[in-house]
């Protein structure tokens, strides 16, 4: 079996929806380590959501193998695999089952038959983790989109998955809601023993990830650290993605003769570098 460090492993995975259909994933291999935050980006139709569905056995590959926490994902293991793989989807309105926040978070735990005492403890713990502890008795329709997604995350965390997948979980949120979720995720990453897989086409959202997998037309097109990736601006544009403002400004500055050495990930880093250059002259 795979070593302790590898939590998820894709080995030469290919997938298509039917025999006559084109391949959605072509010979994909990658790994996610324990407690690692991996971001997958790619254009619409690049196969990134299919990866998520394969990971918890909503779909099965025609070729290749997938391992989660040492178990091969197949018909007779999916119920165990799903305990390890928690998922949050795009639409905040499609994943509420409870009439209040606490009912909703409790739903998964009830299904798993957790004792009441433990449920109360976990409820408290996960609502703290997503910063929603004051909303315990709130009805879902009174929450903003971002708050609903934080509850969805809490509900998944409550059953202690080993990996949490956010499949374009911010796509339907406004900019504040988006930032909210990214902060929540960063906080979880620092404080919880869980691996993260965030699937997105927004390059702003990969800045804090440990590693980025870029998908293009069903294949792993690149694997790198966000900083390296931002420097591959023209290539990213060519496959339908965009780079954040700060990366394109850094590029424009280089073109006008400013010797920027460290690819900036945010405003502070670029301003710092410019300040250093300024003081030297």
């Amino acid at each position: 079996m795979s070593s302790n460090e590898k939590l998820v492993e894709f080995r030469n995975v290919s997938f298509r929806y039917g025999a006559e259909q084109p391949w959605v994933l072509k010979n994909c291999s990658f790994e996610i380590d324990r407690e690692e935050w991996v971001a997958i980006i790619g254009h619409n139709g690049s196969g990134k959501s299919t990866i998520a569905k394969l990971m918890n056995g909503l779909l099965f590959p025609q070729e290749g193998e997938i391992y989660v926490a040492g178990k091969k994902v197949q018909e007779d293991t999916i119920w165990d695999v799903r305990k390890d793989v928690g998922m949050v989807f795009q639409n905040p309105d499609n994943q509420f089952v409870g009439t209040t926040v606490q009912d909703d978070v409790a739903f998964g735990m009830e299904n798993r038959g957790f004792p009441r005492e433990e449920m109360l403890q976990r409820l408290d713990d996960v609502l703290h983790a997503v910063g929603m502890v004051d909303y315990r008795l709130t009805e879902p329709h009174r929450l903003s989109g971002g708050q609903k997604q934080r509850i969805a995350i809490a509900s998944v965390l409550a059953v202690s998955p080993k990996v949490l997948i956010l499949d374009e979980a911010t796509a339907m949120l406004d900019p504040r809601g988006r930032r909210d979720i990214m902060q929540t995720v960063a906080h979880l990453q620092a404080n919880k023993d869980v691996s993260l897989l965030t699937i997105t086409h927004d390059l702003q959202e990969i800045v804090q990830a440990d590693r980025v997998i870029v998908m293009n037309e069903g294949q792993v097109w690149d694997e790198s650290h966000p900083r390296e990736l931002f420097s591959k601006q023209d290539d990213l544009l060519a496959i339908g993605l965009d780079v954040p403002f700060i990366a394109s400004l850094a590029k424009a500055l280089k073109q006008t003769g400013i010797p920027i050495t460290k690819e900036p990930l945010n405003h502070e880093e670029l301003l710092e570098e410019l300040w250093t250059l300024h003081s030297r002259t």
Binding site: P175, L249, Q255
Partner: protein, 290 residues
């Protein structure tokens, strides 16, 4: 078509314990041919506002004028169908409204309803498909076999085929990837210019508002909070933060740059390249205070 709101209010479930004022004494004027962005936090009344534009709701108080059409609380609206043939609305996630067997039939539905003749409909279907960047091969396909992005394009083609004078867009690029977003906005902008439309864009993207809009209206709690040119409105950081909005990223960067380097670089909707040139001038000790 000119659009005017005069002290418009709209209350959901009036005379009930659940009464909720979504629009509160709202007044503004949009001259024909303008590209307007409407921006506001979730729940600020944006969607209710646009439902007035083709008479889906009637104001609870005040008057809405769209060209020669008038909507008031008192009178039952007349000629609504005619109004709707002039005002095309692309709602959020319009692909959810597809229903026909083929792409061609779906796009034809609107113009057919407005009494357009068959040969003209055919012409419009071809033209609308082309406008949204889909080839003519799609006409006989089922809209439900298409990808999400393609379905969105078909739904939008259905609105374009009614040949509206006013185009209302409610977050039309939500959920699309960056290239899809850009292509779609460019398509609307091209249409806006070539057909001399009056375009109303509801958006969360300050960047899109800056790029495409002549005029911005900021809503808060159903009232007009600010309005003006994007480059004037979007530099007012404190005022925007009051209503939970952020300045565009470039404005945020310029502000921090100005603070740190004691310069007064203005925001003029410049490109990254232009900003880089101005920064370089400061660093290389050129004319630093411009």
């Amino acid at each position: 078509m000119d659009i005017t709101f005069e002290n418009v209010s709209y209350i959901y479930q009036q005379h009930s314990p659940f009464a909720h004022k979504a629009i509160d004494q709202l007044s503004f004027h949009i001259p024909s041919g303008t590209f307007v962005a409407i921006v506001g936090h979730t729940g600020s009344g944006k969607s209710t506002l646009i439902q007035h534009l083709n008479g889906l709701v009637q104001p609870t108080a005040g008057k809405v004028k769209i060209g020669d059409f008038e909507l008031t609380a008192e009178k039952k609206p007349k000629h609504l169908k005619q109004l709707r043939s002039k005002v095309g609305v692309v709602f959020q996630y319009p692909e959810h409204q597809l229903f026909e067997e083929t792409v061609a039939k779906d796009i034809s539905f609107g113009p057919k309803n407005f009494g357009v003749g068959d040969s003209e409909i055919q012409r419009r279907v071809t033209e609308a498909l082309q406008a949204v960047g889909l080839s003519a091969d799609y006409v006989e396909r089922s809209p439900f076999d298409l990808s999400g992005g393609q379905m969105r394009r078909v739904a939008i083609a259905g609105v374009l085929a009614t040949k509206p004078n006013v185009l209302v867009l409610d977050e039309p690029t939500a959920g699309l990837d960056p290239r899809g977003q850009k292509e779609m906005m460019e398509m609307f902008y091209e249409r806006h210019r070539s057909e001399q439309l009056t375009t109303i864009l509801v958006t969360h993207s300050m960047e899109d508002a800056v790029t495409y809009a002549d005029h911005v209206i900021i809503l808060n709690k159903g009232s007009k909070y600010m309005e003006g040119k994007p480059e004037e409105v979007f530099v007012q950081k404190e005022a925007l933060q009051q209503v939970q909005l952020d300045v565009p990223e470039m404005v945020a960067f310029i502000n921090r740059w100005n603070e740190k380097f004691h310069t007064k670089l203005p925001f003029t909707k410049q490109s990254e390249r232009e900003l880089a040139t101005a920064i370089t001038a400061v660093l290389k000790g050129g004319k630093s205070h411009e």
